[in-house]
């Protein structure tokens, strides 16, 4: 199954390489990886999705923690979270097809960001399955080009992972509730 990790790292040169290299070395295949700034200049944040079972996900988390520059790792796969992907889709839309494409975009609350005589470029933001849904419907018209950012994710509610990263760390008891074997991190 796809696991989603939020990873807080020190904003230093080479940290992305260390994280990417870890997945390669331990033979885990990254499905999506995004990295960007946070509200703190010294901290960068990655959202990584990777296909892994429960045990593998735990080992990925433990291995990420072994990287000296990693501040905090949260597996939010089974947690309430806002997950967003952004896609830009250039779709063939000449003459009579154009109004259909515009309607579909409107239903999906996507925006048209570029108009050409034979095509429309649509920008859509949302969970991955929503974007997949629009793509499915646009395919018959002819998708000429498509690019996606990969997902970014944030926990719902007021709990801030960032605050934890620089103050406290999750205790072993967080896993106790679901009866798993656990270790303190």
């Amino acid at each position: 199954m796809l696991n989603t990790f939020m990873v807080y790292v020190e904003n230093k040169p080479g940290v992305l390489t260390r994280v990417a290299s870890l997945f390669r070395r331990r033979a885990f295949n990254i499905d999506s990886l995004t990295v960007g700034r946070t509200e703190k200049p010294e901290v960068s944040r990655m959202t990584i999705t990777v296909d892994a079972d429960h045990d593998q996900a735990r080992r990925i988390e433990a291995n990420l923690y072994k990287l000296v520059n990693v501040l905090l790792v949260e597996n939010i796969t089974n947690q309430p979270a806002i997950v967003r992907d952004l896609a830009m889709i250039r779709v063939a839309a000449a003459h009579d097809a154009r109004s259909h494409v515009l309607q579909l975009a409107s239903v999906f609350r996507a925006r048209v960001v570029d108009v050409a005589p034979e095509s429309l470029t649509i920008e859509i933001t949302g969970a991955e399955d929503k974007i997949d849904g629009l793509l499915e419907l646009l395919r018959p018209y002819g998708i000429m080009e498509m690019v996606r950012t990969g997902i970014v994710a944030m926990r719902r509610g007021s709990k801030s992972g960032e605050a934890m990263a620089l103050t406290e760390y999750p205790s072993a008891e967080t896993d106790a509730a679901n009866g798993d074997v656990s270790y303190s991190v």
Binding site: E10, S21, D55, R59, V68, E173, V181, S182, Y183
Partner: protein
């Protein structure tokens, strides 16, 4: 003052601060970290550091190849428990260190490797002797650094030492550009404190996990301790012994665990794994509880995971959370420092009479003694096991440090040299690095000048790093070298014998006359091919004031038994043929 401007090594004192070059700061910080000796090889990009060495109290050992420098730092660390330091130049100097760094990584050995790098403005230009060594060593170091300013040197060195020796130890590489060595800045040790907000080496288990572990221990009828290298790293020898004695639990050893629990202790069963004692492997398969102490269920100790210890619950005491459930699924993980975890468990462990279990293990020994080569009729041939057994009997009282290479002789050493004390066996376990023994022994001898040090090495591995004989002589070290010379890459030949239809492709060796080679270095030498000559040769070597090389010409096609074939179940062992056992079975 610009980076490029030359400046005196130390300037006037200003409120605890002084102006120094990056090179000067490097040596100052190494001294403050307690470093007395470094192993290195100079070159262009590290020259500013070498120039500043004259102001330092640190002794520099000039090696003959940078791989040797890393193995020496490694041997130094294994023998002393302190951080070993190796130093080299950029490019080929740095890449020559790769094997030694990977060796230290796989065996969790704290070493710091310092490499020169081309000037920071040249980085990325494919300059002369430029290699991206932090990129190259990224997966084989615990952490590494590229330092491009003199002002970063102090904090980086402090962090490097802290990371190398804390938690699960490992190698750290610090790559310092030439301009960072030449540049100057204010040096302030106090202000250069490590800042590692994400690094947490000090984990400890939850109370709930202790309770679960105790329940498993108390409910167990057939428990077994698997004693690994972590015992030595943690310094938990006393605690493991107390725990085993109190709970009446027998102990099986990993290769790197040898010495962590006295070989002569009645609860010590011996070594487990691919070339472990047959009864130890059977005991693992019979056990109902395995207590893994600082070991990582390497494939060489588990055999086929599907059939490994299927009757047993598992408790894993381990400092590295990433090891939990990596190879073997465990029931209770206790993540933390082994010594601290055992001290926490100990008062709650009940003393139990386990004589029934111990008796049944004794029965598992079966015909092992009969199959032991020591007890086979004398064929007139000299076997490696004879040499090692004799060496052990002669040197056992001296807390001798034995440094082995990799291959058949390494396994025979593990089987026949009975280690009573920690840090008396130094061997490359995880990476299995041939060529390790001689340089690692030099490091061990430098760390422990009073100790008797023996190198036990094959004729193949010896030739990989024998250039370090010059280092040995130059440093005037009394190290004894026992070459177990069978004219083959013995372990590879053994695999060819069992699994490749005796097609001995590329394993027979054409060797030099090792005795004359030693003579060329001014090292006393002997060549031995008779069993009766072994003890006198060992005694002559011990009595000699300098280093001695003994070329033991042993049986060419001997085989290490027992053997669990790669991928086979742990209890499925190839045993040494014994005419006595086989005759009895035929009847």
């Amino acid at each position: 003052m610009t980076d490029q401007e030359s400046a005196p090594i130390s300037g006037p004192l200003k409120a605890g601060k002084k102006t120094m070059t990056g090179a000067g700061i490097l040596w100052e910080c190494l001294e403050r970290e307690g470093v007395r000796v470094v192993f290195g090889y100079p070159g262009g990009a590290i020259l500013p550091a070498y120039d500043a060495l004259k102001h330092s109290k640190i002794h520099h050992v000039l090696v003959r190849h940078e791989q040797g420098a890393t193995h020496m730092a490694d041997g130094y660390a294994r023998a002393s428990g302190e951080v070993g330091v190796a130093i080299a130049t950029s490019g080929p100097g740095a890449t020559n260190m790769v094997t030694g760094i990977a060796t230290a990584m796989l065996d969790s050995i704290p070493i710091v490797c310092i490499t020169g790098q081309v000037g920071s403005k040249l980085i990325g230009s494919d300059a002369f002797q430029e290699t991206d060594i932090t990129g190259v060593t990224l997966p084989i170091t615990k952490h590494n650094y590229l330092v491009t300013h003199a002002g970063e040197v102090a904090q980086t060195i402090r962090e490097a030492f802290y990371v190398a020796k804390s938690g699960r130890p490992g190698p750290v590489l610090v790559d310092i550009t030439k301009d960072a060595q030449q540049g100057t800045c204010e040096f302030d040790w106090e202000a250069a404190k490590p800042q590692l907000p994400g690094y947490r080496p000090d984990l400890s288990p939850a109370p709930r996990e202790y309770a679960q572990a105790l329940e498993l221990i108390h409910n167990s009828k057939r428990p077994l301790i698997l004693a690994g290298h972590g015992i030595i790293v943690s310094g938990a020898m006393r605690e493991v012994r107390d725990f085993a004695e109190r709970a009446g639990i027998p102990v099986a050893m990993t290769l790197l665990g040898l010495g962590a629990f006295p070989a002569s202790h009645p609860l010590n069963l011996g070594m487990m794994g691919m070339h472990g004692e047959a009864w130890v492997n059977h005991t693992i398969q019979e056990a109902d509880l395995l207590l893994a102490f600082g070991m990582r269920f390497d494939d060489r100790v588990t055999g086929n995971l599907k059939t490994y210890a299927t009757n047993a619950k598992k408790i894993h005491i381990e400092i590295d959370p990433a090891e939990i459930n990596k190879n073997v699924k465990v029931d209770v993980p206790l993540v933390g420092d082994l010594r601290e975890v055992l001290l926490e468990l100990m008062p709650k462990v009940e003393s139990v009479d386990r004589s029934e279990w111990l008796d049944s293990i004794d029965k598992l020994k079966g015909d092992a003694a009969v199959r032991d080569i020591q007890n086979l009729p004398d064929s007139g041939h000299l076997y490696a096991a004879h040499v090692i057994n004799d060496l052990w009997r002669q040197t056992r009282d001296a807390k001798t440090i034995v440094v082995t290479d990799v291959g058949q002789h390494q396994m025979w050493e593990a089987q026949y040299y009975k280690h009573e004390h920690p840090r008396t066996l130094i061997t490359s376990g995880g990476l299995g690095t041939m060529g390790f023994a001689l340089p690692a022994a030099i490091g061990a001898k430098v760390a422990c000048p009073e100790a008797e040090v023996w190198v036990v090495v094959g004729d193949g591995g010896f030739q990989m790093t024998m250039c370090e004989l010059a280092t040995l002589v130059q440093e005037n070290l009394k190290i004894h070298i026992a070459i177990i010379n069978n004219g083959f890459l013995g372990m590879v030949r053994q695999w060819q014998e069992f699994f490749y239809d005796r097609n001995y492709a590329a394993t027979p060796l054409l060797n030099p006359d090792f005795a004359r080679l030693a003579d060329a270095y001014g090292i006393r030498s002997m060549t031995i091919s008779e069993r009766s000559e072994v003890v006198p040769a060992v005694e002559a070597a011990r009595a000699h004031e300098g280093p001695v090389l003994i070329n033991f010409k042993v049986e060419q096609e001997d085989t290490v038994y027992p053997m669990v074939a790669a991928g086979a179940a742990l209890h499925d062992m190839i045993r040494r043929p014994s005419p006595i056992v086989e005759t009895a079975e035929d009847e």
